[in-house]
């Protein structure tokens, strides 16, 4: 191996030139791609950043809801009022973090969440401001909005029990508490305790039963799991339909979506499960809301209020109920056929801010009970 003996700077670099004669023709370094990238850097970035027309009336929305229905409603709002709706959607937690960091300079006008607990958190951190609006006070029932009008519910979401029609008689299980009973061992499926619907539901259990009984209940449910918590709400329903578990804790609209899905397989799965509104004899089924509040430093406060008023209008409320099978907060709106088929029910009228107040207690109970 004589190569090593040539291993001196001069011969090494000399042979390098010999290796690559083409370099001399093509120039020392192909700049094309880099110039292109630089051009992109200087052209695209300002273009994307600076394409805002300051004079146009806007309302800036931070939203955890990102359904096509919402988008269609925003477009309709723009058509009716000339106010453009600009949206950043992410999870409520992330949006709250962003609002906190932005402080008084925040461009956001409203915050939309899918859970009352998060609105309460935003309120306690000084991120929202109260709104005096006769329309809103009249339309949104008292228990579905903040007592001091810091936030308002847009749609109601009911945490129900989805059961396997083939294997379960609905008479057997009429309350959340029953999920912890010994006879359901190996038959209960649920998602993880990281999920906000589960956390808020646990908060309502704490409110109803007290901390100790709620923890006892959580331990009982954990002992009854058919498999470790995993997946999303739809997955729970499918695991019940396919026989992994017999009963699941889910939001009702996910069943509605399956029943109205485009593909026959999903519809068939939906047909295999029934839903139970629990605790009809006492406090009623757990209610949460997807809601909205005006941010503390909203630069377009008036537009924000108009948007909220629009979202509780009859047509908007009907759109919410029909497209996503949620229950409207406004009374007197026709329900979607699927919702009508499930009938009326008694809903828990727990003050929704309690869900936020008990949030931490709920998470700790899950951790102690081993509900991952």
């Amino acid at each position: 191996m004589p190569d090593n003996l040539h291993d001196s700077p001069v011969s090494s670099s000399g042979s390098k030139v010999g290796h690559r004669p083409s370099r001399n023709d093509a120039g020392p370094f192909r700049r094309g791609p880099f110039i292109l990238a630089m051009a992109l850097l200087f052209a695209v970035v300002p273009l994307l950043a600076g394409c805002e027309d300051e004079s146009e009336p806007v309302v800036n929305v931070y939203s955890h809801r990102h359904y096509d229905t919402d988008e269609a409603l925003f477009q309709q709002f723009t058509a009716e009022t000339g106010i453009r709706v600009r949206v950043v959607s992410a999870s409520a937690d992330e949006l709250i973090a962003r609002l906190e960091r932005e402080g008084a300079a925040s461009p956001a006008d409203v915050l939309i969440t899918v859970d009352a607990g998060r609105l309460h958190r935003a309120r306690t951190r000084g991120l929202l401001q109260p709104v005096e609006s006769e329309v809103l006070q009249e339309v949104v029932p008292e228990h579905l909005r903040d007592p001091e009008n810091f936030w308002f519910g847009l749609t109601q979401r009911i945490r129900v029990l989805a059961y396997a029609r083939e294997r379960v008689d609905p008479e057997e299980i009429q309350s959340y508490e029953a999920l912890a009973d010994g006879e359901w061992e190996g038959r209960v499926v649920a998602r993880t305790s990281e999920n906000i619907y589960n956390i808020s539901h646990m908060a309502s259990m704490v409110a109803a039963l007290g901390q100790e009984a709620a923890e006892e209940w959580a331990r009982g449910v954990v002992a009854n799991f058919a498999r470790p918590p995993q997946g999303n709400d739809t997955d729970q329903i499918r695991d019940v339909a396919s026989g992994i578990g017999d009963v699941a804790l889910v939001n009702s609209y996910y069943v509605g979506r399956l029943l109205n899905a485009d593909d026959a397989a999903s519809r068939e799965l939906g047909e295999r499960v029934g839903i139970i509104f629990p605790n009809q004899e006492d406090r009623g089924a757990h209610v949460n809301v997807s809601g909205i509040g005006v941010t503390a430093h909203a630069p377009n406060r008036d537009h924000a209020v108009r948007l909220i008023e629009f979202l509780v209008s009859e047509e908007a409320q009907r759109a919410f109920a029909e497209a996503n099978f949620e229950y409207p907060v406004r009374e007197g709106i026709d329900w979607a056929p699927t919702l009508r088929s499930w009938g009326t029910f008694r809903a828990d009228d727990l003050e929704l801010n309690r869900l936020g107040e008990l949030n931490n207690e709920a998470v700790r109970i899950f951790d102690r009970a081993g509900w991952r």
């Binding site: 191996m1 190569d3 090593n4 003996l5 291993d7 700077p9 001069v10 011969s11 090494s12 670099s13 042979s15 390098k16 690559r20 020392p28 370094f29 192909r30 791609p33 990238a37 992109l40 850097l41 695209v44 970035v45 994307l48 950043a49 990102h66 600009r86 949206v87 950043v88 959607s89 992410a90 937690d93 992330e94 949006l95 962003r98 960091r101 932005e102 402080g103 300079a105 461009p107 993880t192 305790s193 990281e194 906000i196 918590p229 995993q230 709400d233 997955d235 499918r238 695991d239 396919s242 026989g243 992994i244 979506r257 999903s266 799965l269 949030n359 931490n360 998470v363 951790d367 991952r372």
Partner: protein, 597 residues
Amino acid sequence: MAVTPPPEPDAARWSPVPPHPPTNSGSGRPGAQGWIRRRLSGLRDQYRPRPRVTLTGWTVATLIVVALVLLPIAAVTLGIFGESSDTWRHLASTVLADYLGNSAILVLGVGALTLLIGVGTAWLVATCEFPGRRLLETGLILPLAMPTYIMAYTYAEILSHTGPVQGALQLVLDPSVTAGLRTGLMSLTGATFILALVLYPYVYLITRASFLKQSGGILETSRILGKSGWSSFFKVALPMARPALVAGVTLVLMEVLNEYGAVKYFGVSTFTTGIFRAWFSLGDTPSAIRLSACLLAFVFVLILGERAQRGRARFDHGSSRFRPVVPFQLQGWRAWLATGACAIPVLFGFLVPVLQLVSWVIGVAPRALDARFLTLAMNSFGLAMVAGFLAVVIALLIVYSVRLSPTPLLHLASRASSLGYSVPGAVIAVGVMVPFIWIDRQVAGVVQSLTGGSVGLILTGTVAALVFAYVVRFLAVALNPVDSGFERICGNLDETSRSLGSPPLRTLFKVDVPLLKGTLLSAGLLVFVDVLKELPLTLILRPFDFDTLATRAFQLAMDEQVAESALPALLIVLVGTLPVILLNRLIGRQRTKGSYG
């Protein structure tokens, strides 16, 4: 070249080779050769210009850039020294052990699997010839374009009750037996396999490039001296590829540690899910920071370990004449075995999930495909390109500065600048807001005092903040390959150029950059693909009405509209695939061209 008188106490550190006698270990000659080589390189090290203590422009520029990159991370982690909160004690007493255990298993499992798949396939395609090799060579990189969360959703769906696998199995088995398939997948084991399938290309890419750049002469020598193919692999090729291999695995492990989407969906609690639990579910930022800091400490150990294992060894092959490896022609069943072994990762890491995505897209395309998708693709593509370019430029600056003056400070700075990669995107996003909002407030203050008018946040919530965050997050992705690329350029090339009068910048662009072109492009493309897939950071920092393919796919999947999410998901994969193929052709050319002297 001017000969600097070496023997000062300090110089000993840079010429560490003692003139020990040749060790005669069995096959005599390599030992003697090795001794001569070591001696020569020792001499060369003696004549290498010693690091200057003075602050050069390069050092200052690098320190500033690294400080900027570390700013967001520092902004989130400074709170660690606060009081131990009640929440922290709660976490420590209930779930912390679980998080640690799961993360450890995931790290070990994915690390081992990616090494096995990545190195095995890299060796086969780089040094052997078998049916379908050329196709598989490219194909093996493709899983890189699959975001983990999409992979998780897709496989969960494939193995679901209504999916094709259970459908087929139910023909022979009872449905109650097959029902557990999906549940089985959504576990720690399932997550390990899913992550390994998408992450092994990091190891494969970097290791294969390294195998290709090893001179065929060395391998031939090894075989002439009586070593078998396997023995040559373990004794020669693998040790020489070690920096590449470790660089690849380090990337994989960092990616595993901050993985969120897939493990969350599977219900596996890891350190990252713990950070989010403390931060969001419990609303306790200090505890979240404390957890992040633990994670950072672990990653820092990982990074230091990676550098330490390189030690004082050098990995350029010291030869001025490069001969590409002559592929070894595999025959008969061995050839088909190689084909099969390389096809499996491509099949499960790419083809199967893509076919599932395609079948969904066919179902929903008529109502999902509109002009909006062009915008989504453009947004994703533009962001990824700019971020990729910037990351490579900064990586080049840092690595080259360290090369010019390898002071402990610069070494530390370059290592620290990799930290962002291990921090969950959402944490970085919040960290990035701190300096940006500060700047915005200063600007707003100036504007107000000048004009009396008020302006909102100028930079925060713009693409600029987003790009900056990407660079913070993905600098390590560019830094690792650039660094291991430089390792294989003999220092004497630079020295020659500079002793002939070229200043460092000119040397960088005339000598190093042309030699590193392939490496730089692969580094840029790795960042490109990563940005394309990036999610939590993009969600938080993006401007109003600004969607990327990833945010769109994720939101649809979050709303449990998996079929609808398939279109943007498929686009991410396809857009990510194009540069991957391009990249492969560039690396492939190394086969015929020389390496780095």
